[in-house]
């Protein structure tokens, strides 16, 4: 029964020959396991479809492009937050209510209590992120599903927004913000249009269309789009290229395993809830400064749109897998289809049908990807 293993004091044999099974893991396989692959295919399809059906409708003229880019940019902002949070293994259903709430937080103190507009905006961000942190804290402490906790916040925040608006202003729509915000830095930050001269020049040279009064049909790049791109780029880099990104993946993939190897899971999740709140506030600030008004029912159902964009973009509902690029492509699909249906003149109800079908398709596709990546059956 006795054999011996002799232990060489130092060297451990190293296997040097190349594994003949390497070829199984080709580039195509790696490409196929990208989370955003499906969304990319979806974008191509959607553009092909509307490129044909909506070609004569002005959808691809400069002002038409701006309309669907605006929808896309709005959704990119909250979709990035939702995607990061979903990769981190949680949901935030309070995003839509947060949009309404922070809009009022900017409008009411300024128009009714003459708080400087900059201060109102800062307060809105601080309070929103505080509420996000509270959501996160409750979830990591109680280990309740985020679905239920943020559903509670959805109702509480919406109710609070309407109730407090009525208490302070006796109405649910607060307008007239423009006279306080003109020329302020925050107004520029959220509603300026960049490079007006360039667009003027484009119009004068007939590269883009002009309005009957001679002004260009698109007068500049709205800050909304700048915010969307900046948030998406930062979100993508953080997720894919940094230590925190690895923590987000780990926290969502298996919180217990992550905790056991020293990942600060609770801090990661709380920060992610603060991020979605931040994104919601950017969204509402852009809206408030564009319209010069806030309404208590703003942002209705936006939480679902954000989640849909993230899911179409390849995020798994179970966490630990997904991409910000995917969520942005999901937002683009959403924007193009929503506006494309308007341009083609089809009844708007078809958008909902399409959206539901798209969502179902994406979820089925994602779960097959998941099986491929994890080798589950």
């Amino acid at each position: 029964m006795k054999k011996q293993i002799n232990i060489p004091p130092t060297a451990v044999p190293v296997i040097d020959e190349v594994d003949e099974r390497v070829s199984r893991f080709s580039m195509s396989r790696r490409l196929l396991s990208r989370p955003d692959l499906g969304a990319f295919a979806g974008v191509v399809l959607v553009f092909l479809f509307f490129g044909i059906t909506a070609s004569g409708t002005g959808m691809f003229a400069s002002d038409g492009v701006l309309t669907w880019l605006t929808v896309t940019a709005q959704l990119m902002i909250i979709g990035t937050g939702a995607a990061l949070l979903m990769v981190g293994g949680e949901f935030d259903l309070s995003v839509g209510s947060m949009i309404g709430f922070t809009g009022m937080m900017i409008a009411i103190p300024t128009t009714y209590f003459h708080v400087p507009i900059g201060l109102s905006v800062i307060m809105a961000f601080v309070v929103a992120m505080g509420i996000g942190a509270l959501n996160g804290y409750i979830i990591v402490r109680t280990r309740l599903p985020s679905f239920i906790v943020t559903l509670a916040s959805l109702f509480m925040l919406r109710g609070l927004t309407i109730a407090l608006s009525i208490v302070f202003t006796n109405r649910t729509i607060v307008s007239g913000l423009k006279e306080y915000s003109d020329d302020s830095i925050v107004s520029w930050l959220f509603s300026a249009e960049l490079f007006p001269g360039f667009f003027q020049w484009l119009a004068e040279n007939d590269i883009i269309q002009s309005l009957p009064n001679g002004a260009p049909s698109v007068s500049g790049i709205p800050m909304l789009i700048v915010w969307a791109v900046v948030i998406a780029v930062i979100g993508h880099i953080v997720l894919m290229k940094t230590q925190v990104g690895n923590w987000i993946f780990a926290s969502g993939g298996d919180a217990n395993a992550a905790r056991n190897v020293g990942v600060p899971v609770s801090a990661v999740k709380i920060s992610l809830f603060m991020t979605t709140a931040f994104c919601a506030t950017v969204y509402s600030a852009c809206q408030v400064f564009e319209f010069g008004s806030a309404a208590a029912d703003r942002g209705l159902l936006k939480e679902f749109e954000a989640i849909i964009a993230a899911v179409i973009g390849g995020c798994l509902l179970t966490g630990g897998y997904g991409s910000v690029i995917g969520a942005c492509l999901g937002a683009l699909i959403f924007g193009v289809v929503q506006m494309g249906i308007l341009f083609t003149g089809a009844p708007n109800d078809w958008f909902q049908v399409f959206l539901g079908a798209m969502l179902l398709g994406a979820v089925i596709f994602n779960s097959s990807i998941r099986k491929r990546v994890t080798g589950e059956h």
């Binding site: 006795k2 011996q4 798994l316 630990g320 994890t374």
Partner: protein
């Protein structure tokens, strides 16, 4: 059991010749609500020693090492690292103190790549201006190297851990702990899913790590493996120690009997014709 191992013990190559006390716990108690998982266990780990923890299922081995690695907070008891009292409140504290662990459930995220798992919580970073980024090239390189050293040539460090075999996964966890275990390495049944070649590789590995002056806590149900690499053996039974024995004090057979709660296994062995 046809593979029996006897290691040609050579004296560990101490740097300074002296064995230092790395970890010491006194009367460690752990309750989970009404469940008493550990009812007062004392243990110490020295440098350059392999300390085997033995005992039946549910004896409390995993609970004990989870307290040493900061996962559970002891209900009662004293805990010293390098002679200083410590209070670990998270696994991070233990890792910072140089205690790395291969957990029984491995603590791996199946969806993530080998590299991302390998460096989970300890990501190498590289600064570009004021920003710090994860150094993926370096991480891939190290993960691959460390896996080669343990005898597994991974095809692609970007491969998701979920697609690895159970044994390969265990090897990733072991390689990870060895890479980060500066002072103490804890292995909770690291060879349970391994083939013969990988098992002997892990045992050699334990021996090699020990020679570097690291203290190793090795949990296994295989007494022969334990006896082959162990310097001391602590036997746990229902949350208490049945004692700690050095290799000089105890024979393989005695150890086996102790583990089995005396006699029973011997009887079983006779019944089954002496093959257990």
């Amino acid at each position: 059991m046809t593979m029996s191992i006897e290691i040609t013990q050579e004296p560990p190559t101490h740097e300074d010749g002296e064995a230092r006390l790395l970890i010491e716990v006194h009367d460690l108690v752990k309750h989970f609500g009404p469940v008493v998982a550990l009812a007062g266990v004392s243990l110490d780990i020295q440098s350059s020693e392999v300390h085997c923890l033995l005992g039946d299922n549910g004896a409390g081995k995993s609970t004990l090492i989870k307290m040493l690695s900061g996962v559970h907070i002891p209900t009662k008891g004293d805990f010293f690292v390098d002679g200083k009292p410590v209070n670990f409140t998270s696994p991070r504290d233990a890792l910072d103190a140089g205690i790395a662990t291969v957990f029984q459930d491995l603590a791996m995220v199946p969806l993530l790549s080998i590299t991302r798992n390998f460096f989970m919580g300890r990501e190498p970073t590289r600064k570009i201006g004021p920003f710090s980024f994860m150094d993926m090239d370096f991480a891939n390189h190290v993960a691959r190297e460390e896996m080669r050293k343990i005898g597994i040539d991974i095809r692609d460090p970007q491969q998701a851990v979920g697609t690895l075999s159970g044994g390969e996964r265990q090897c990733v966890a072991i390689a990870r702990a060895v890479h980060f275990g500066a002072k103490v390495l804890i292995l909770d049944e690291p060879t349970s899913a391994l083939g013969v070649a990988q098992t002997s590789m892990v045992l050699k590995y334990i021996h090699r790590v020990r020679a570097k002056g690291i203290g190793v806590i090795f949990i296994t149900h295989n007494v022969r493996h334990a006896y082959a690499v162990g310097d001391r053996f602590t036997v746990l039974n229902r949350g208490r120690t049945l004692g700690t024995f050095s290799k000089q004090e105890i024979t393989l057979e005695e150890l086996q009997t102790k583990m089995a709660g005396d006699k029973e296994l011997q009887d079983l062995s006779d019944e089954l014709g002496g093959t257990v």
